[in-house]
């Protein structure tokens, strides 16, 4: 029997699969994943913060983050802070804007570049995280981050959340609620903001042109914080 030509066969199979995948469109972009699936490299998770909807009296996102991830209300500058609400004042006009600032989940993350152990890493779906099993607590990443998004845990911890291990001697930051995303959910801050009716934070897949966040990004003018650094953050701000 003549041996089959593997190149030709593989080509035909690939073409057939490509036809199946492209035709419905949506298969190109993985959306909500189940707990059993690994994170998809086709996805890049991101946030869009509409500062025109963020008000002075509300801190629902910060409270939701604290409850979800189990970090106490900070009292000292060195305390852990995954998400903070900042006030931006135009000194000349006196105009005030408010915005939640968390890890910006940069595509070119400086924290990942400087980490000596590989503990600071970027997941294939764009989430920048700390693997605390490998973190030695050197805090180079805190120095490198232009957004001051990372914190060091100085005290022994107790009563951690089941999904959010936290311990003394490691650096930590917003992980975009990776445990929730991995089970098909949205980050706690996004959920809490939507519950207040403001919907100032939109979550979604930046790689999918049909996702809500991508459509919104096309419609309104947005900017990255410290855009001059060219880090391509996954968090964008409108109205600043």
């Amino acid at each position: 029997m003549k041996p089959r030509d593997p190149g030709r066969r593989d080509f035909l199979v690939a073409m057939a699969l490509a036809g199946v995948a492209v035709a419905p469109g949506i298969l190109l972009y993985a959306q909500a994943k189940s707990a059993a699936q690994p994170a998809s490299p086709k996805v890049r998770w991101g946030l869009l913060v509409d500062t025109t909807q963020c008000t002075e009296d509300c801190d629902a996102c910060v409270e939701a983050c604290r409850t979800e991830n189990g970090w106490p209300a900070p009292t000292r500058p060195t305390d852990v802070q995954w998400l903070r609400k900042v006030e931006l004042v135009d000194r000349r006009s006196g105009h005030k804007a408010f915005a939640p600032v968390m890890c910006q989940h940069c595509a070119e993350a400086p924290c990942v570049d400087v980490c000596p152990t590989g503990a600071s890493f970027k997941r294939v779906d764009g989430i920048v995280m700390v693997d605390r099993h490998i973190c030695i607590g050197c805090r180079y990443c805190m120095m490198a981050c232009p957004y001051k998004a990372r914190s060091f845990v100085h005290e022994p911890q107790s009563d951690q959340k089941a999904d959010v291990p936290r311990g003394k001697g490691c650096v930590e930051a917003c992980n975009l609620c990776a445990p929730r995303i991995d089970r098909g959910g949205v980050p706690a801050c996004v959920e809490a903001c939507a519950a207040t009716g403001r919907r100032a934070i939109v979550f979604g897949d930046l790689n999918d042109p049909q996702s809500g966040i991508s459509r919104r990004l096309r419609e309104v003018s947005t900017r990255a914080l410290r855009a001059e650094l060219g880090l391509d953050p996954g968090v964008r701000y409108a109205g600043l």
Partner: protein, 135 residues
């Protein structure tokens, strides 16, 4: 001569019987650990005694780096099943599952410096009691 050989054989057998549980790092008959909630473990218990650190490490890398969160050897899954029925924890005394065996084997247990040592349902029960008391 035969008698001496028989004695040597008996001594060797006794040594194996005494050492075997120690090699497997299983508590002696005097140590009673909390019984697991489910009837059977996800793996053979004899295997688990030896390789549970490797299984946990594998699951941890799958979870942290790849985002897979349904592993049977996930640490929280172990805690959920092996937690004490009263306080919902795997730590607290030498009859608590993790602490008891690690104390016996003299192996430092560092998982719970960061990870929750309590079963999910126990944490939820405490939270709902605290919530009712607060409101």
């Amino acid at each position: 001569m035969n008698a001496a050989r028989a004695i040597a054989r008996a001594a060797a057998l006794a040594a194996v019987l005494v050492l075997a549980p120690a090699i497997a790092a299983a508590p002696s008959a005097g140590t009673v650990l909390d019984a697991p909630r489910a009837g059977t473990c996800v793996q053979d218990p004899e295997l688990m005694r030896r390789v549970h650190p490797d299984l946990l490490r594998h699951a941890r890398n799958d979870t942290v780096h790849r985002g897979i969160r349904d592993r049977k050897t996930d640490l929280q899954a172990c805690v959920d099943c092996h937690a004490n029925a009263k306080d919902g924890s795997v730590l607290g005394s030498n009859t608590h599952f993790c602490q008891g065996c690690h104390a016996y084997a003299a192996v430092k247990l560092t998982c719970f410096e960061c990870h929750s040592s309590r079963a999910r349902d126990a944490v939820q029960a405490t939270a709902s009691v605290a919530g009712k008391g607060g409101s």
